[in-house]
Amino acid sequence: MTSLRLFRSFVLIVSIALLIGTPAILVSAAPHTGRLQEAGEPTPGGTLRMAISEEPDQLDPARTIELLAGQLMGNVLDALVYIGDDGLPHGWVAESWQIAPDGKVITFKIRPGIKFHDGTPLDAAAVKFGYDRILDPAMAAPYKEFLGTLQKVDAPDPATVAFTFSEPYAAFFVNGATIGIVSPAGVAQFGDDFGHNPIGSGPFKFREWQAGSKIVFERNPDYVNFREDDTNKGPAYVEALEYNVIPEAATQTAAFEAGELDLLDVPREDLARLSEDPDVEIVTLEKSNNLNFIEFANRPPFNNPSFRKAVSYSIDRQAIIDLAYVGNATVNQCPVPINNAAYDEALCAEHGYTFDQEKAKQMLAEAGWTDGDGNGIVEMEGKDLQVTLWSYAPYPTQSKTIEIMQADLNEVGIGTDIQVIEFGAMQPMLESGEIGFDYMRWTFSDQSILTQLFKTPGWTKQTSDPALDALLVKADTTVDPVARLEASRAAMVYVLDNAMIAPVISDWIQTATGQQVHNYHWDALVNERLNDVWLTS
């Protein structure tokens, strides 16, 4: 064993209170799910070949909110802090930080001597520059929302950056302080094209972007890794990272099997087969930041809590996992992902809804829907209940899931049609309420997922609940982590009691690695840590 470090996924707790003395709390450390480390010394060299199903839009934190872009930028850009396995922020580019007693100013000390790939220094002014770009209204940065109540950033000296907030912003460390730091000289040089020529201080330098086909990064030989959750404190082992754009999942699998890829985001359908292959190891992260749920529009019958509870009771979640996810997901009754600080299995079991067809029918009856004519479909005032459940294309798992749900809903008397549509076309229909209820998937790290989902007007503009808003604001502005967690859980219970969404499952993250790949793992926010990976030939 070269390292004792096993990959662990702890429940994430965001704390900006750590430095003002509140003890860190650990909540239910998850069993490790990752790949064991192999014996042997890491060997440098080689190219790590991966597939992505589409191009990222741009690798510029001030221009993108794409998950994929974030994943790739993580290779090039370092951030002020990272979130450790204990769920707390740890210094990265920042050596330390202080939080003002009122929680409205956070002052970071920047480590001296860090250089960007272009040789310019990463100092306080550079940090300020990056955040100012996102704050600048003229940039219309889509990420601006995640900076919350941040008002301004000051750099009084090269080693000090001060963030000033109008109200305490509890999610800042996860949502704000983990943003990659870009080279101001690089931005000046490339201008609008910086997103295609990113320059940071990370373990990999951007090498080339072949339009539409591949993106290549190369090792930064001068890299010093300040992260304690990585084993490799020096430059990355692999010479280069190669991301090949392969849109079709079946083609990705073919390329992996033909030995043209080292890593594969495994299609669920191929999991069983690939896990039997002795040359392949599947690395699984069960406690993911994924949440799959049914959400509802603000119109009858969907705005009736009893109807929503009936829906939640009628879903056979285990059958969905068995059939659509081929066993690779976990039933989740919480309105937050399983890898979330606010997740609480017992609490959600108490306030949530398990598969129970009798209770579903009871709820329908409470809402005024009964099957009087015996046709199997409930009706009100002689009119059969007929609804359409939506999801988005082209994801076979998604459509299989709603096919199973359709059968479940029909079983309790909710006459259900289903419809899939491209993701891009869903937005106006969600916001207009045309989509009555739909199966949705979110990936989100922080407790503030509840705010993102439900704070008036809600992400689909279908929520307006002052009582819930008050709970959410409390959670978002409470600096003390214990108190914040309590506030988030209060909001969570409110969401469950009113069945505002029907949580269904959290699907696992699974990557197939060829036998040549060693030490592949994620960090607590499910970012790949590729500077730890090494290859044998």
Partner: protein, 297 residues
């Protein structure tokens, strides 16, 4: 990816010589290609009509057998990933295939005949305007056009059929116009005009029967193209909606099973292939038979 590949402009633009229906059928089915194609189409139609009698299971019922089971005696085409009987789904899917082909072609023919006849008969600026419009529509690749129309109308089988029909009408318009131009100058039409027959009357009685042959040929070739386009739209999630057993959707949903449960992709793939090929063979033979230049050799 289909509409652009047909060759409407090169179809015969001639009046159909008067022949009976029976000799026509005899001529058609004396050819091996037509026999092959005709037999498959017959099976397809019978399957669609008698689907409830033929299917051993409800095509929508989950878990009637084990999951992803290869073909067995109980499930001749195997079962799918939700444990549905694939044979029953294919049988019911034949209805949708027929529906897609028929309605898309009907939309294309309807619009194409209207535009083509009006343009050909009136000529002048009407003709110029309509034909330029047709040219513009032709300039949009069929699949892209269908994609755009479905994006506007929303996904779903009905909109797919409208989109495919709209995308392929220019071919019909051109062929019909060409035929009308030839027929228009023939003696009996001129005679009709002199005798005071109204334009709609002339169109219906004199011109329509004579442009029938090229329309039939083109329609028989457009039918399979429509089935393929609908399947292609399923590929990007714009086609038939689940749990519809439309063959293209079955094929698309099964694409990640190509190694683990190949029957799931090969059965619908083969079904589409056989039916489309049958229609193409039939259309090809129809063309030969209906084209007088080739028939008498």
């Amino acid at each position: 990816m289909s509409a652009a590949l047909t060759a409407p402009a090169l179809l015969p633009a001639r009046a159909k010589t008067r022949t009976g229906f029976r000799p026509f059928l005899a001529a058609l089915f004396s050819r091996r290609q037509a026999q092959l194609g005709g037999a498959v189409v017959l099976v397809l139609v019978l399957a669609a009509i008698f689907a409830p009698l033929i299917s051993p299971y409800d095509p929508f019922e989950l878990r009637v057998g084990p999951l992803k089971e290869p073909p067995t005696r109980a499930h001749p085409f195997g079962t799918d990933d939700l444990g549905r009987d694939l044979f029953s789904r294919i049988v019911y899917g034949s209805r949708i295939t027929l529906q897609i082909g028929t309605i898309s072609v009907a939309v294309a023919v309807g619009l194409g005949v209207l535009v083509g006849i009006v343009a050909g008969f009136y000529g002048g600026w009407v003709d110029a305007l309509l034909m330029r419009f047709t040219d513009v529509m032709l300039a949009f690749p069929g699949f892209l056009l269908a994609l755009a129309i479905v994006a506007i109308l929303g996904p779903g089988l009905n909109n797919v059929m409208i989109a495919v029909g709209l995308g392929s009408f220019p071919g019909f318009a051109r062929v019909v116009r060409g035929s009308v131009l030839t027929v228009r100058e023939m003696e009996y039409v001129t005679a009709g005009r002199v005798l005071g027959a109204t334009p709609p009357h002339i169109m219906r009685r004199a011109i329509l029967p004579n442009v029938l042959a090229p329309i039939i040929v083109l329609a028989s070739l457009e039918f399979p193209a429509a089935v393929l386009t609908a399947a292609a739209l399923s590929f990007i999630g714009l086609g038939a909606q689940p749990p519809s057993p439309e063959w293209g959707a079955l094929l698309v949903d099964a694409r990640t099973y190509i190694r683990t449960a190949p029957h799931l992709i090969n059965v619908p793939g083969a079904a589409i292939f056989v039916v489309v090929l049958a229609f193409n063979l039939l259309g090809n033979t129809l063309r030969d038979v209906l084209d007088p230049r080739l028939r008498h050799r």
